[in-house]
Symmetry: C2
Subunit: 425 residues, 2 copies
Amino acid sequence: MSEDYRSMWESLGLDLTAHDALLGVLGTFYRDIYLTRKNRPEGMGYFDFVMSEVHGLRIKELLEEKVAGRKIIGSYCVFVPEEIVLAANATLVGLCSGADFAVEEVEKVLPRNTCALIKSSFGFKLGKVCPYLEAADMIVGENTCDGKKKAYESLDALVSNLYVMDIPQVKSEKGRELLKAEFWRFKEAAEALTGVTIDTERLKQGIRTVNAKRRALHRLTALRAADPAPISGLDALLASQVSFYDNPQRFTDAVNKVCDELEKRIAEKEGVFAPNTPRVVVSGCPMAVPSWKIPWIIETSGAVIVGEESCVGERGIRNLTDDAGQSVEALMEAIVDRYFKIDCAIFTPNPDRLAHIEEMVRAYKADGVIHYGLLFCQPYLMESIPVAKALEDKGIPILRIDSDYSMEDVGQLKTRIEAFVEMLR
Amino acid sequence: MSEDYRSMWESLGLDLTAHDALLGVLGTFYRDIYLTRKNRPEGMGYFDFVMSEVHGLRIKELLEEKVAGRKIIGSYCVFVPEEIVLAANATLVGLCSGADFAVEEVEKVLPRNTCALIKSSFGFKLGKVCPYLEAADMIVGENTCDGKKKAYESLDALVSNLYVMDIPQVKSEKGRELLKAEFWRFKEAAEALTGVTIDTERLKQGIRTVNAKRRALHRLTALRAADPAPISGLDALLASQVSFYDNPQRFTDAVNKVCDELEKRIAEKEGVFAPNTPRVVVSGCPMAVPSWKIPWIIETSGAVIVGEESCVGERGIRNLTDDAGQSVEALMEAIVDRYFKIDCAIFTPNPDRLAHIEEMVRAYKADGVIHYGLLFCQPYLMESIPVAKALEDKGIPILRIDSDYSMEDVGQLKTRIEAFVEMLR
């Protein structure tokens, strides 16, 4: 990234030395995992560029938006409704996570046995290396799992602009009422932040913009049903990851451009791997940039990933928000309806998730499922046991992997994954 | 326990061999930890008897109640309102936990990194050694922590009578509404189970019975403020533990009898330890029978425990339920009010708990706090860090201990606790 950004990062209070080190590692990692791979769609060049400028150009854009009076809202979860953020003339960005940083400092404020994702988000704050977090005018936490819920109490002492949204645990009438009340409260908070009153037109436009992004990603996911698979799981994951950072319209165009290319590949029976390569769906915990370890091991072990059942994947983007309503109230109901369908493991019971995994296996002609649980993520680790049993009962092979962001288990994971892939042939 | 009970245990479907082994270990453990200690109040003889008959006479009583048409409701949590259970002419019992059992079987249905309390409750079920569980007509689960919430999904496959209560995560208006709706739903479920319609008189009587139990325990806790302490922490904990199993009226009488004796001791400046023995409050996760490890280490390391800030302790019993209401609605409101005050770490934020720990330190003239966190119990482990910081900032020494039910860490814990106690002198 260009030298011009250093004063920008400094103005955000980043630790330049630590940040240089982070970007160095990230750059090497990205090159090794992505840029050396063959047969990637040309359209992925856009995503390579975005990644190369992830702490540069995109931050510059956000800061320019801020100068023009637009507010930036940061989020850690797919429960934060981007429709409302956009309607309030603000920009939503996913906040940094996905790599270990400043671990020693983190373990002074969080137990060592906290999931890597939460520890990572604290590491980026305590290590002063996340420009998104520092640029945000409001940081939205949400009471999903116990780990995040309690961690936000400690994050509140580290930042000045934390807003916490309560989330139900049961898909009951009362549960929906809570989500609705919390979305209305969030709407008011977004309006108070931006000074914009959300009207029907603004909300409708917000819904349309987010739906367009989802539609483009739905189009991409559907194309992965082809055999040979026209795109790697690593590249598809990258698109999902970038959806949390990028300008929504530009992102939508870029994904559709990749899809145009994939359609041609499919027509010509071209793929990124050979036909009949074992196909797997990855299900479980989210993989934020740069947690590419598991898909990288899978796709260098003889399999291709044809779907991600994850927040950074289909759990985050499936289901559109109905934009037909003719009032703010009607559109807000549609937003609540859409988000209340999210099949996160924090819900009890959570049968929709199992049904969705099975649906993905059928739709993408997968030969098996690899379940990825972050160590100490209780909701997904606990749910993975009955999910695995149910899939096995239906004859769908499944491998459960519990891991974190360290590289120490790569050898062991590779052995297990290779054996699983061998079984799928 | 008498041979007569074997056919009773068999009729409940217990694994007699495993159950014999459990009772053998429990008996030895109890003798070593309790019966060999000197200077115990005579009134504790009642509790020794109750413990010696914990799977015998008490189960016989419950089965006799069942024959007479009364229902037994089992619970894992202090959020289950005993007032409502009694008003429905049912009996509430705490379900077995507190020791590792059938670990290998448990780890087939729960992740290894699940807290010992949850694993234990599954172990008692899978090992077929909990007569309370097998005698229960209804088992009540509650969505408190992620671990329990998701574990109940798996428990549901192992028992035929599980009822799950949703619990709020925030002490907001919506949170109180949820608890209220859930308590009304539970009232209806209890009525459906027993065929009894809960009226004002029944509910008032239920409240009075439970309040009397709480008042007796409040009396006991207040007496522990004396120096020298008139009762050990181990004995006071035992009383709290037995409160979950015993007939409420008989229990209340037994506690009051101990209190009469303690008052005499205090008047004569007699104590269970020497005057000026370092005094500690234990705060954190619950200690179900037979998890006496931590208090046993503390009280054999030169300190006396003068209070338990725990579900099996003051968190479970503080605050009475107002019995003044003249309608079911008014009394139900009072019940909701009382339970909504419970300062469990599942709530975010949870400032009442810190305030209560400080209040206990002052009231019982404690020299320090030992925080007990069950390994992998995210809510308490996470909350323990800001709690410890806040106490340290106020000059209250605190030691954080994370442990489970194994005996492997006894040596290490003893070293740490002795050093902490030495510092309090």
